[in-house]
């Protein structure tokens, strides 16, 4: 979630904030609440039909979803045509451009619940519990019991999924599940050619990192004759990215914002732990020693970091490994012979060797509205998307057209995808076929592997190797189930202030405007004053619910 968080904050945030600032706030009407509480729940579970595809009689289902930006879903994309053929469901697409979906759909839900599609992607900012309580969306558990074999199977594979899509004891939404969350994670990336030039080994511990970066700082690592123009290490996008190092102290600051249970299942706020104090002390030294780019707080977005990398000034940084080929290409085009970047396995720190990774499930999922005439068919359709057939269609497209499958089960994309005559990128070609758009699905790791076709052979092997080597250290970031209305009421206003304070102090501790040793106690007591205990109590309740569901 953190990755690209800043960018997203800027883009979606601008719109969100425009609303928050009252420019275009929000509201609702009597219609919203009269949306038909009559249809809530399947009053009689035994009345649910067992659905087998293809249906004998065609059924129409309307799906509201963000549109593909490559080719509109309303043009009957091949993958979805195939799904319609195999299920005998006629899908009516109710699409909005993805950038605008949240805004537009939220408005539609708020302004007039009666006119909603059968299935829709839940826009950000609407609570499942509230929608469920208002009877605007249907509880799905009974339907899943009858027609959701594939979904049930997915719940086993993704143990959080059920808990995170539930509210008030009902399952309300079906989310995309991400099998490839641990594949090629956000990682430390280093200039291999700089290491070679200085005769150094790739670092494997935090201490070795410091030694290597000191060498970058002191010597002429980029080989241009000037030993002083190297920036040993930088982070881009947001100051928060420095907390990536905190992984070595066993802290979960990067993805989980410091909210993490200890071994007894007690939620902790790790920013005020003793390890955090040690980490901040280390981070300040790191900065004071000139190993961290002095501009790390002022580079607005990731592209500013890439600029520096491309100018041959940066020794190491954190990013997705997928950026490496582009950066290498740029470096070479800018005249840096033999430029080579490699992703590294997370280093062993004083307390741990770990890396927090993304959640394995999309934040928002698809819900079935109470206006849906055939909820059993709707759920069966969603379930079909999670079947082996559905997964294959939604990840790889149409066999023979976009991919071929070898006997051992490995997938290879066709030339149409890998070397598109119209110049579309592989992702775009697949999207124009309807892959990974239109509904929830399982994002398969096999596809991510197959997508590496474009990279040179050795780089492909390297990514797979590093992914495999990293996997044992991958710690999933903690995602908690939604707060109840009562819970969000007790912590209303607290989290924002706390986040501001932590962000500010992280910067100040790093740069040294606040001294860790002297100000630690007041830091901890300020965090307490900002209501951390109240928030912790709520987080604990949420965490207990998660555990209970798991």
């Amino acid at each position: 979630m953190k990755q690209g968080a800043f960018l997203k904050r800027l883009t979606t945030g601008t719109i969100a904030a425009a609303m928050l600032l009252g420019l275009a706030a929000c509201g609702g009407t009597p219609e919203a609440s009269s949306a038909g509480s009559a249809g809530s729940a399947a009053s009689d579970p035994s009345a649910i039909r067992e659905i087998t595809f293809p249906l004998e009689e065609p059924v129409e289902i309307t799906i509201a979803t963000p549109d593909s930006s490559v080719k509109s879903l309303s043009e009957n994309l091949p993958v979805w045509q195939e799904i319609e053929r195999r299920t005998n469901i006629k899908i009516n697409w109710d699409v909005t451009a993805s950038a605008q979906y949240v805004e537009v759909m939220k408005l539609r839900v708020t302004a007039g619940g009666s006119n909603l599609p059968d299935i829709m992607l839940l826009p950000n900012g609407l609570s499942l519990a509230e929608l469920g309580a208002q009877g605007m969306i249907l509880p799905l558990e009974d339907y899943i019991d009858v027609n959701g074999t594939n979904i049930l199977k997915a719940y086993e594979e993704f143990p959080n999924a059920k808990a995170l899509t539930s509210a008030d004891g009902h399952i309300y939404s079906i989310n995309t599940m991400i099998e490839s969350a641990y594949f090629s994670p956000y990682a430390f990336i280093i200039r291999k050619d700089w290491l070679d030039r200085l005769g150094l080994e790739a670092p494997t511990t935090v201490d070795e990192w410091v030694t290597v970066l000191e060498a970058f700082r002191d010597q002429d690592a980029n080989g241009d004759g000037d030993p002083n123009n190297e920036i040993p290490f930088t982070v881009g996008g947001h100051a928060w990215y420095t907390t990536y190092w905190a992984n070595g102290w066993g802290l979960h600051l990067f993805q989980s914002d410091g909210w993490y249970p200890d071994e007894n299942g007690q939620m902790q706020y790790e920013f005020i732990s003793d390890q955090a104090k040690e980490f901040y002390t280390w981070l300040h030294n790191f900065y004071a020693e000139g190993l961290l780019d002095p501009e790390f707080l002022t580079m607005g977005d990731e592209s500013k970091m890439f600029e520096k990398v491309a100018r041959n000034n940066v020794g190491a940084f954190t990013a997705y490994a997928s950026n490496i080929p582009m950066l290498e290409e740029t470096l070479r085009a800018n005249g840096v012979e033999g430029a080579e970047l490699i992703p590294l396995v997370p280093p062993k720190g004083p307390y741990a060797q770990q890396v927090e990774t993304l959640s394995d499930m999309s934040t928002n999922g698809y819900v079935v509205t109470s206006g849906c005439k055939n909820p059993d068919v709707a759920l069966a359709l969603l379930d079909y998307l999670f079947s082996a057939e559905g997964t294959e269609l939604l990840n790889f497209g149409i066999e023979g057209e976009t991919y071929t499958k070898a006997d051992d089960g490995t997938y290879t994309f066709t030339e149409l995808v890998t070397n598109n005559p119209e110049g579309l990128s592989a992702k775009e070609v697949l999207e124009s076929y309807g892959c990974q758009v239109g509904g929830p699905f399982i994002k398969s790791e096999a596809r991510e592997e197959a997508m590496l076709f474009g990279y040179p052979e050795d780089f492909r092997e390297l990514v797979i190797e590093v992914s495999d080597a990293t996997r044992p250290y991958a710690t999933p970031g903690l995602t908690l189930p939604p707060a109840t209305a009562e819970e969000s009421d007790t912590i209303s206003g607290l989290q924002g202030d706390l986040a501001t304070y932590i962000w500010e102090m992280t910067g100040k501790f790093t740069v040294g405007t606040a001294d860790v040793e002297q100000e630690w106690d007041s830091f901890v007591s300020n965090v307490k004053d900002l209501g951390v205990d109240q928030i912790l109590a709520v987080k604990q309740a949420q965490y207990d619910r998660l555990e209970a569901e798991r």
Binding site: A17, G22, T29, G125, L297, T298, G300, D301, K304, E504
Partner: protein, 324 residues
């Protein structure tokens, strides 16, 4: 003026009913007299009632615990809960102070410059230079904030930014401008002026065209220098526009936009850089609380409105120029 006060005095005496009747008669008389003007303004009033005033009712969510699912009317009343939340926030005074300081400095430096620029370009001889200067000056206004801030970061970079290169050329030490709290307001306001002065000067250019050329001729006859002409002819003639613009600026004192701030500030400069809107923006992102945003917005609006009333009153006394 005199006639009006006489009318007022006379109206105090008669009993209420008679006064009301007189008032109605007066109103009717006014309507009949000004019916053409009323007819002209009527479409605009209707447009305002429909498209501006009607949608304002959504602001009541500032007093409710708004939930998008329950809607405006369905959400529960909570009175001043969110206003109090804002006032009690540990950051309230900081963001209020920063907002006011940034606004005041922006007006102090940013308000006169477009006027001076308009006066200057107006004095250029008509020709290609004048047209190019005017046309070019408003370009930065169109460049998106993200790009402008990206350029600022480049210019001010301590390692290879042009500003620091110049400083070093003169033997100074490079300054990491964006990391120095002492520099933040200067950078923010100066770049704002750079982006907006050309655009803001357009209204003054239009006002300058309304000046009767004979006034300049007369001044020249009297032996006034160019500068004297500007001070004694141009400025007084565009004074109403200047005053009106100024009063309206006063009305934006509480609303410093967050778009540029969030791109330029960082933890180290937050003490001087965090304003009300950026605070609401961050809080809103974390908690998705519409009512809070609305309450703060309403608070700002009321303060802005009060300030404008005050400024308008003073202006009316001093210069007889007034918004209403």
């Amino acid at each position: 003026m005199a006639a009006k006060s006489v009318v007022a005095k006379r109206q105090i005496k008669p009993p209420l009913r008679a006064r009301a009747a007189a008032g109605a008669r007066q109103l009717w008389k006014n309507i009949r007299r000004d019916k053409a003007l009323l007819l002209i303004v009527l479409p605009v009033v209707i447009h305002y009632l429909i498209f501006v005033y009607y949608p304002m009712y959504g602001n009541i969510i500032a007093f409710k615990d708004y939930s998008p699912v329950l809607g405006i009317n369905g959400s529960e009343w909570v009175g001043f809960k969110y206003f109090l939340q804002f006032f009690r926030s540990p950051y309230f005074w900081r963001v209020l102070r920063n907002t006011l300081l940034i606004s005041c400095y922006s007006i102090l430096w940013g308000f006169p410059i477009p006027i001076i620029f308009a006066l200057m370009t107006n004095d250029l001889r008509n020709g290609i230079f004048k047209r190019v200067v005017q046309a070019v000056s408003y370009i930065p206004y169109f460049i998106s904030t993200v790009i402008i801030c990206g350029m600022l970061v480049n210019f001010l970079s301590p390692s290879n930014g042009i500003v620091n290169t110049i400083i070093e050329l003169f033997g100074g030490k490079p300054i990491n401008f964006l990391m120095e709290p002492g520099w933040f307001r200067t950078v923010f306001i100066a770049s704002g002026i750079w982006q907006g002065f050309g655009w803001s000067s357009i209204i003054y250019l239009a006002a300058l065209t309304g000046i009767n050329p004979e006034l300049y001729e007369a001044a020249t006859m009297d032996g006034a220098s160019k500068l004297q002409q500007v001070i004694h002819v141009s400025v007084p003639c565009i004074l109403p526009t200047i005053i009106v613009t100024f009063i309206m600026q006063i009305g934006t004192l509480m609303s410093v936009g967050y778009e540029k701030l969030i791109l330029l500030y960082n933890p180290v400069t937050l003490d001087v850089a965090d304003v009300i809107s950026s605070y609401v923006y961050r809080t809103g992102l974390v908690e998705g609380n519409y009512s809070f945003g609305s309450a703060v917005g309403l608070f700002n609006s009321v303060i802005n409105l009060l300030l404008v009333f005050l400024a308008n009153r003073i202006s009316k006394k001093v210069s007889e120029v007034s918004l209403w």
